[in-house]
């Protein structure tokens, strides 16, 4: 058995989701090769080679793979697939974009967002917004799988010495091209890996009041997240959204402020270790999952909390 693992990276370093996927790969068993695909991504190879347990790092560095355009990346992976029993990627928006395309090119299914490895062909995954957990067995010769980062501890980043191989073949389908990218800039930790998260909902009222949470987050060294309602209302950009259709998070501490706890939101945060809810409605469903609930007006409680820290 050999596993091809498609790394998530930013052209400079591996993202933590890659290391979580390495853990899942280790549980499956077999040789692990890491594929670094992108444009200007060669620098990542050196850090990838240090990940213990990796046999080989494959590097596909070409303008055709800039921003991991799905059509080209899927074509590349298809060409490599025959050497492998499993193809894994983190369930990031990149992985979700190109992995099903890889699966269909190989005429196999995809198992999405696994949260545990039961055996080399059997996995658990959430369905119905996490209200049910399915155990599914893959019947395909090559198993194409995306991995939920928060369900696996990140593997060690240092200590290994894998070989690095540069791939010369280039897949350029010419089907799509990048026009522009608008990336959020923030000095705060990333939502999916943050130890502490402060999340706000519609109850924050407006954009200016939502900024209260920034100050609280800075005191806690926390990331800031939001409900879909808060994103839709324009309080914060889309990359803040936590939930069934946004990001899945599992911090040590999650503080939900002025949000009701809809099932779609809970789907993205109910595996947090400690959940705090601040809501003025004592019947809000968020209190059913909160370890510590505070029934209060957030406009009084948040400044008070900030001062008490």
């Amino acid at each position: 058995m050999a596993i091809l693992l498609i790394a998530e990276h930013d052209n400079a370093a591996l993202k933590s989701a890659t290391l979580s996927t390495v853990t899942a790969a280790t549980q499956i068993g077999g040789d692990i090769d890491l594929l670094i695909v992108g444009s200007g991504c060669t620098a990542v190879a050196d850090s990838a080679a240090k990940v213990p347990g990796v046999r080989k790092v494959l590097v596909a560095d070409n303008a055709a793979y800039d921003h991991e355009i799905a059509e080209n990346v899927a074509d590349l992976i298809k060409g490599l697939a025959s050497d492998y029993s499993h193809i894994l990627s983190p369930a990031t928006t990149n992985g979700k974009n190109f992995m099903p395309r890889v699966a269909a090119l190989l005429d196999v299914g995809q198992i999405s967002e696994i949260m545990s490895v039961e055996s080399a062909d059997t996995f658990k995954r959430p369905i119905y917004a996490g209200n049910a957990i399915a155990t599914v067995q893959s019947l395909d010769a090559i198993k194409v799988i995306t991995v939920r980062g928060t369900s696996f501890d990140p593997a060690a980043a240092e200590g290994g010495s894998a070989s690095i191989e540069t791939l010369s073949q280039v897949s350029d389908t010419g089907l799509s091209r990048l026009v522009s990218e608008e990336l959020a800039k923030s000095d705060r930790p990333e939502l999916t890996t943050a130890k502490v998260i402060v999340a706000g909902g519609r109850g924050m009222g407006d954009k200016a009041h939502f900024e209260m949470l920034d100050t609280l987050a800075d005191k806690l060294g926390a990331a800031v997240g939001a409900t879909r309602a808060a994103v839709d209302a324009g309080f914060v950009p889309n990359d803040y959204q936590i939930g069934q259709t946004g990001k899945v998070v599992a911090p040590e501490l999650y503080i939900g402020v002025g949000l009701s706890g809809a099932i779609q939101h809970l789907a993205g945060m109910k595996d947090s270790k400690v959940i705090v809810a601040i809501n003025k409605d004592e019947d809000a469903p968020i209190f059913q999952v909160a370890d510590y609930g505070l029934v209060a007006d957030l406009f009084e409680a948040v400044p008070e909390l900030e001062k008490a820290l």
Partner: protein, 249 residues
């Protein structure tokens, strides 16, 4: 340009699903069913393209049991022109759905296929990407913005780090995110009109697609329940608990 849209019949998003006591599946008996919310947004977008004069015809397709007709009628009432139901009581996994859709694409030759980014039941998020692969089309996934010209579509994609704009060549498969538009409610006259619009029923065999299982479902369990927590009286108590009991700050 024809636009093909898919709608899936799923549990209503307000309903909290229950797992059967024998752990074989979820219990969908007497549960309210609806159009998958993402598919509703896909239909709305297709109808808007027609209203803007960019699409000539909107064809809506569903695969599933006979009563998926209800969801097709909803789409027709929103403004789609005709419907195709590929009727099957088998479990249709994403790859099989994509294979059937690929045959329909071959027959209808749409300029755009617009689908939901994921079904809220199985949360796979893969059928659109698979269809794009099988037909060799370009793909624009998780989109919250769309502009269509004669040869390409400019799509704004919601990605982990923010937003990305791509130009994808036509024909293309697009999968839509929640913020693309706000779907309309069908008016009563339009619901009546929709009853007379053509709805064709087919089977997977009509398209020569053999339904194959790529996975076997071994078990369905409820998720681990969280221990009930406590209410704190004030901020001071909250801080004290977080420091001394939970030890997280």
């Amino acid at each position: 340009m024809k636009v093909l849209v898919t709608v899936k019949r799923v549990i209503d998003y307000n309903v909290k699903v229950r797992v059967k006591s024998d752990n074989t599946d979820v219990d969908l008996k007497n549960v309210k069913m609806a159009v998958n919310p993402f598919c509703e947004i896909a239909v709305e977008q297709a109808v808007r393209l027609k209203e803007a004069g960019k699409a000539s015809e909107v064809i809506v397709v569903s695969m599933g049991p006979q009563n998926a007709q209800e969801q097709l009628r909803t789409a027709l009432a929103m403004g789609a022109d005709r419907a195709i139901l590929v009727q099957s009581d088998d479990v249709l996994e994403s790859l099989s759905v994509a294979k059937i859709l690929a045959k329909i694409v071959e027959e209808e030759q749409p300029g755009l296929v617009i689908m939901g980014k994921q079904s809220i039941d199985t949360d796979n998020n893969q059928t659109g990407q698979m269809l794009a692969a099988l037909t060799g089309m370009s793909q624009g996934t998780f989109i919250s913005g769309l502009e269509v010209s004669d040869t390409e579509a400019q799509v704004v994609r919601e990605i982990d780090g923010g937003l990305q704009t791509l130009a994808v060549k036509l024909p293309a498969v697009l999968t839509v995110d929640l913020r693309l538009n706000e779907p309309r409610y069908a008016s009563l006259p339009n619901i009546m009109k929709a009853k007379k619009k053509p709805l064709e029923t087919k089977s997977p065999a009509d398209y020569g697609v053999e339904i194959k299982a790529n996975t076997r479902l071994l078990k369905v369990e409820p998720p681990a329940e969280r221990q009930a927590g406590i209410k704190v009286a004030n901020v001071a108590e909250l801080v004290e608990k977080l420091k001394n009991e939970a030890k997280v700050i």
